[in-house]
């Protein structure tokens, strides 16, 4: 038999001035199941809460309704009070007679009637509430970071430095990502390698970090605190354990003219190679598709050269299964293919290059040892044209978004060029200069004022070759007239785009992505680091175009989130989750398609001999967020949502 206590709060005058509380108490006291109904000036106050607690104990109440403010305000307060008095905190409902009644109405009798109805309906609900208990999920306190660029490195280091194990998975032969390709970094012009390589070394030597390079994530199973990840370790054909990185094999390899991916094709590599000199780990890989031994069984010069016999042509890919509690996705970006701009002649004219090419030209460790030389004939370019937004903010051909970093790196390129080619001339075609960030606007102003970067506001319509020059035809919008520049080299500030396989990867790991393929955060403003899948976090440019400081900040934020998760052995979750009735579930799997969190799975029910009786839906309490979409989807009424059950809601409606 229900024994409900109803506590009507005056909230000072806030409620009492518009709701006739004495009338409310009189009416509610008559309601079946109501054991006690009292009013008080402030139930949220210390003595008010004491009154509630005392009533629970003295009357052995089975449920409590506090007719007061919004549950968004004081639900937690009164849940705590209930728990302290020995009543399950989920046996409480708040009747909102302030925000949604006394404050918004002007007629006292109407407001009183409404307050009575609201309270009644919640009494009927609370009669059907069930005691609920927080769900405890065990947590494997080891994290996986996918992607070994600056974001992944930062996240891994932060987690590892806090004393937790990290597995860092990188699909390239070396960690470092795009940052390792960059020459200098804005707005300070530190050399990128100089600030990155110590981090790379720290990562690989860290006792808490296991670095898996040349490896890819193939499968992710499980849920927050309990993921099982299958990682494919691609065969390097070089034994990691013994290789000293002396580089003799690379020197002797006869296949040398392979365009280097790291140098964006501006330099060459051999068939056995490390992507760049400072690669971490400094262990080469054999490019199977180019290696003569794999092509025709001959050569094997590297094997003969290697003094410690580290070459192993028989190596196979291996699959490793790793248990982790949380995952950081830091898979980075790619530079957009500019071939869609036929009028700019990318791919047709060797001296039309992308910003990333320019980085390699300007890099001291690049193919020209830091000298600006144009790719076609190695001549020093006298005039360089930069075209911003070559792909970004272009609805018709490119992408709609702003790639965010191009204004800054173009200013940097113009600066680096003027530092290296003193009498050189630059022209930068731009739409807007977007230099928001610490020291950023000062930086672009410096490019203009000290390094004489020639900014031209307008777009370029065409680039063509004439007498060994690239003729760039465009418009100067500010002067309102066409311009033509005879350039020696053109640099396109191409858009940052998601990795080409980002969408496939999102499906493997079970996170959302936007129309472009950037991964979706749980909430753009308030949960920018988490994904909608609990336990999976984002860092860096895989979420949206970002510069280095933003990527690093987000990586540290992701690490902080994970360390919070790892601070306890068990994870406590709100018990408002869906539950399946095995006896009525027909196994139509409608709920499986409805669930936004992939929290519902199939479960076999077997008899004691192990024979299958039936397959039913089963809710994973670690993943379920309690939205209840599956409940109203279920054709046989076999799923219910704790705290908002069908019984409770119907009772609430019936009482209105």
């Amino acid at each position: 038999m229900a024994k409900i206590g109803v506590f009507v709060c005056h909230c000072g005058e806030n409620i009492a001035s518009m709701v006739d509380t004495a009338n409310l108490v009189a009416e509610i006291s008559e309601h079946p199941g109501v054991e006690i109904c009292t009013e008080y000036k402030y139930f949220c106050s210390e003595p008010g809460q004491e009154t509630v607690k005392r009533a629970i104990r003295e009357h052995n109440l089975t449920g409590v309704v506090v007719a007061a403010c919004s549950p968004r305000m004081h639900e937690q307060t009164f849940r705590k009070a209930c728990a302290e008095a020995g009543l399950n905190p989920y046996m409480l409902e708040l009747a909102n007679i302030r925000e949604q009644c006394s404050w918004v109405h002007t007629e006292k009798d109407e407001a009183t009637e409404k307050a009575i109805e609201i309270t009644r309906s919640l009494i009927e609900k609370v009669k059907r509430n069930n005691a609920l208990f927080p769900i405890s999920v065990p947590v494997t306190r080891r994290a996986m970071v996918i992607g070994g660029g600056i974001a992944g490195i930062q996240a891994a280091l932060d987690i590892a430095n806090a004393g937790r194990e990290v597995v860092l998975v990188e699909r390239e032969p070396s960690i470092g990502g795009h940052m390792s390709q960059i020459s200098e970094t804005f707005p300070t012009l530190d050399c990128s390698q100089c600030i990155l390589t110590p981090r790379m070394v720290e990562t690989v030597q860290h006792p808490n970090i296991t670095v898996m390079t040349y490896s890819e994530v193939e499968e992710v199973d499980g849920y927050i605190g309990n993921f099982t990840v299958k990682v494919r370790r691609k065969a390097r054909y070089v034994r990691m354990e013994t290789c000293t990185g002396c580089g003799d094999c690379i020197q002797k390899c006869p296949v040398k003219k392979i365009p280097s991916e790291f140098e964006c094709g501006l330099g060459n590599r051999s068939a056995i190679y490390t992507p760049f000199a400072q690669a971490v780990p400094n262990v080469p890989v054999i490019d199977r598709s180019r290696c003569l031994y794999f092509k025709n069984g001959k050569c094997a010069i590297c094997k003969k050269t290697c003094q410690i016999d580290s070459i192993d042509f028989d190596q196979q890919d291996t699959i490793e299964t790793i248990e982790v509690g949380a995952i950081v996705v830091a898979t980075g970006f790619q530079v957009q293919n500019t071939s869609l701009y036929g009028e700019y002649g990318y791919g047709r004219y060797k001296d039309v290059i992308t910003g990333l090419h320019f980085e390699r030209l300007a890099s001291a460790s690049g193919p020209t040892a830091g000298k600006i030389r144009r790719p076609s004939d190695g001549k020093e370019p006298e005039t360089v044209v930069f075209i911003q937004c070559a792909g970004s903010r272009d609805v018709s051909k490119g992408v709609r978004y702003c790639s965010k970093i191009c204004c800054m790196y173009t200013a940097k390129h113009a600066m680096l060029y003027s530092h290296k080619v003193h009498d050189g001339d630059t022209k930068i075609f731009y739409m807007d200069i977007r230099a928001a960030g610490k020291g950023y606007d000062e930086f672009t102003r410096r490019a203009i004022e000290e390094d004489h970067a020639g900014y031209v506001r307008g777009r370029v319509s065409k680039i063509f070759e004439e007498n060994g020059k690239l003729i760039v035809r465009g418009v100067d919008m500010l002067l309102g007239r066409p311009v033509e520049v005879a350039a020696d080299m053109v640099v396109l500030a191409t858009a940052m785009v998601p990795q080409p396989d980002a969408k496939d990867f999102a499906k493997i790991i079970g996170i959302g992505y936007d129309e472009y393929g950037f991964f979706n955060e749980a909430h753009l403003k308030l949960r920018p680091v988490e994904t909608a899948t609990a336990g999976i976090y984002l860092a860096g440019a895989c979420q949206s175009p970002k510069d280095i400081p933003d990527s690093v900040s987000q990586a540290s934020a992701a690490a902080a989130k994970i360390l919070g998760l790892f601070s306890r052995e068990h994870l406590e979750r709100e018990p408002v989750i869906a539950t399946v009735s095995d006896s009525t579930c027909a196994g139509c799997w409608g709920c499986v398609t409805a669930c936004p969190y992939n929290a519902i799975d199939h479960r076999d029910i077997n008899d004691r001999n192990g024979n299958l009786i039936k397959r039913v839906a089963s809710v994973n309490p670690g993943l379920c967020q309690g939205c209840g979409t599956c409940v109203s989807f279920c054709r046989s009424n076999s799923i219910d949502l704790a705290g908002f059950t069908e019984k409770q809601i119907f009772a609430e409606v019936m009482a209105l």
Binding site: N96, V576, A594, C627, T629, S632, F644, L656
Partner: protein, 149 residues
């Protein structure tokens, strides 16, 4: 009938957007008609068409279903499910002969207190014009007296 008809409206709302929007209308002391009774649910995805029918059966003259704007759902997709369900449910309404105007589907965010107050006022006015929802109750009388099964 001299006194104006006061309709009874039941609102099924999600706790994250519309319920919060209604709270905001309260904290901003906006005034609106007192005809609506709110039923708080975690998400519009939780709202079964049966709730709506039950409310109408129990004497509601109008029903409001409101949640987060598309794309803003706290549960990522719940409101899309609610929207799809509503599309299908409309056909059932037509079949049962319940005028579609008695049910309002809307998006109100946690920041739209004023929109909530406006909606309640216009909805109340619209339902008032439609008059009491008696069809079902009359039908029930017919069923009780004449049904042969």
């Amino acid at each position: 009938m001299s006194e104006p008809f006061e309709p009874k409206i039941v609102a099924f709302v999600c706790t994250y957007c519309t319920y919060a929007g209604a709270d905001l209308a309260g904290t901003s002391r906006m005034k609106y008609a007192s005809n609506v009774r709110m039923v708080r649910l975690p998400c519009t995805g939780r709202i079964s068409p049966m709730f709506i029918l039950k409310a109408l059966q129990k004497g509601a003259d109008g029903v409001l279903v409101s949640g987060c704007h598309p794309g803003d759902c706290h549960f990522a997709q719940g409101n899309y499910h609610a929207r799809r369900r509503w599309t299908v449910f409309r056909a059932l309404l037509a079949f049962t002969g319940i005028p579609e105007q008695r049910i309002r589907f809307s998006w109100i965010s946690a920041a739209e207190g004023a929109k909530f107050a406006d909606l309640i006022n216009t909805l109340t006015e619209d339902i008032r014009k439609l008059g009491p929802f008696d069809q079902y109750h009359e039908l029930q009388k017919v069923i009780e007296t004449q049904a042969t099964y």
